[in-house]
Symmetry: C2
Subunit: 166 residues, 2 copies
Amino acid sequence: MAAHRSAAPSAPPMFYRGDTYAVDNSYGFLLRRVLGSLQRHLDHRLQDRDLTAMQIGPLVLLAAGKGTTAAQLARCLNIDTGAMTRMIDRLQAKGLVRRMRCPEDRRVVRLALTPAGTAALDASAEHLAAVLNLHLADFTAAELAQLMHLLHRLLANGAAADGVEG
Amino acid sequence: MAAHRSAAPSAPPMFYRGDTYAVDNSYGFLLRRVLGSLQRHLDHRLQDRDLTAMQIGPLVLLAAGKGTTAAQLARCLNIDTGAMTRMIDRLQAKGLVRRMRCPEDRRVVRLALTPAGTAALDASAEHLAAVLNLHLADFTAAELAQLMHLLHRLLANGAAADGVEG
DNA sequence: TGACAATCACTGCCCAGACAGGAAAATCCG
DNA sequence: CGGATTTTCCTGTCTGGGCAGTGATTGTCA
């Protein structure tokens, strides 16, 4: 188990220990609260438009051409396909996206933004940017870059462990 | 309101713009995925114990003496008191916490860990620490400190805006 | 003292994600 | 060709958060 680590069986980082764990030092709790703040701010700005912060995700991905099926969007957002199905249900009920059975592969359902969906996204993008900027009020460009770098590495480390355990 | 900013009514940071927004550059989406990774890893490690990552929050706070009422815990975790009520319901159903009407102020319900709750927390803390460490696999102590620092500032900037708008 | 506001816990009603399971369709392979 | 596997979407059922509204209690202040 430990032997195949070529460079180092190396010092597994022990920043946190079970017996001395304190909430205030946990970046996990902190992350949770930051995300909550982002979401709450965005939700408040979007409530006039009958949209939520979460619902923007699929709209952005569709507009950016990151995917045209529910499964693709779910993978992009790292969420369940079941959750995505219901999300699409809500977006479709609001007339923002369209479902169209794919003729070539009749399992898949092609998704597309409606004109209303494009309009809603255009109107929301500015709020999304504003909320992100608001939380960066006293940041320099270098600090934002550093933040993104650290977050990417957290994610990569988690994904690496996925492969091992999963 | 703007006058008290001594130095500058100053360049509002424009890291993100509505018309050029791209998912890949958004620290919001990144944050969301990191948190999801943390939660999934922890949930998998805890499923044997019939516990979820979310349910550890109140247990940790109770053990640390950060609060003894639902309202206090909710404020600590930045969540709704209604959500906390239901969370306590689930924890109580599992026999991990105890409710006790406070005699002095009969509005409040005092919360306390049961022995089973303390045991469950002790057993989980090590997994919590392990998951946090796992995502920090290639981090230095300085980088972790930097991450915490940046997250704290994001949170503070969000809270500052709360006061203004709310 | 009596009206008023604040606080606390709780409840309904939403949105939202995780997991398990199922039906239909496509693909792979013997 | 024909069965096994995989993929895609969908549907329960659970946990979980946000918001609004309720009732009980406490504190405040005229």
